[in-house]
Symmetry: C2
Subunit: 115 residues, 2 copies
DNA sequence: GCTCGTTATCGTGTTTCGACGATGAAACGC
DNA sequence: GCGTTTCATCGTCGAAACACGATAACGAGC
């Protein structure tokens, strides 16, 4: 039983991201910052984040068209960003529409600023 | 004779500039942010940066003592941070004294903030 | 000069990443 | 139903990251 098409979030998944007000240092924050940085630490993923920032939201196919990478590779990068909570994907018919997750992004900026 | 300036792209007026005048987006900035994030994207390296921020400067041995890693592994993490320009190491007799590189750190914060 | 303490580098094994093509799964139009 | 479009996942491969012990380099002190 291979479940394809996991839930990409019905429309507004909680994303388990904490709101602001959490500490920007300490062991937990260290791990959090490291994980977020690791997710951002690839040129293609930075590019994806920038695209989403420009266009507010983006069909997966549009992102693939902008990058010099295969569709499967882009899909993997999207999965990395999603796992890190930096983006959100909502199924829109046969497509998947990606957008930034502002909360995590703010959190990332706060942690980076705390360095 | 030293070069006057390491080519900062004299002729091209940047669209968006950080505090130091360099752009915070565009292909070059994408690669730069990705490289910096990749360097920060490991818990041990975040920890090292935090240690250096607390103590201002740190002998390599002190860092090794604070981390649950072998001396050679810590030395490698330090090399990664140094290669990324985030820290600087000066030889002090038989020891090596590490400290943060504020310029790169500011640059990192600017780029992260530009996301 | 020799030894000791400190740190960088080497060699190695294991794990993870990054890329791709191929395959499969859902939604849609017919 | 059936094929198309769109995207996620699988399988695979090479390259890089990560961790360690062992070893080399380098000053300092005797």
């Amino acid at each position: 039983m291979k479940r394809r098409r996991p839930d990409v979030g019905a429309a507004c998944p909680p994303a388990a991201a904490g709101a602001d007000g959490r500490p920007v240092d300490g062991p937990a924050a260290d791990a959090e910052l490291a994980a977020l940085c690791k997710a951002v630490g690839h040129p293609a993923r930075v590019r994806i984040l920038r695209l989403l920032a420009q266009r507010n939201e983006c069909i997966c196919g549009q992102i693939v068209a902008e990058l010099p990478l295969s569709q499967s590779t882009v899909s993997q990068h999207l999965a990395v960003l999603k796992r890190a909570g930096l983006i959100r994907g909502t199924i829109d018919g046969p497509r998947t529409c990606y957008c930034l997750e502002p909360r995590t992004l703010r959190r990332f900026r706060a942690l980076a600023g705390g360095l």
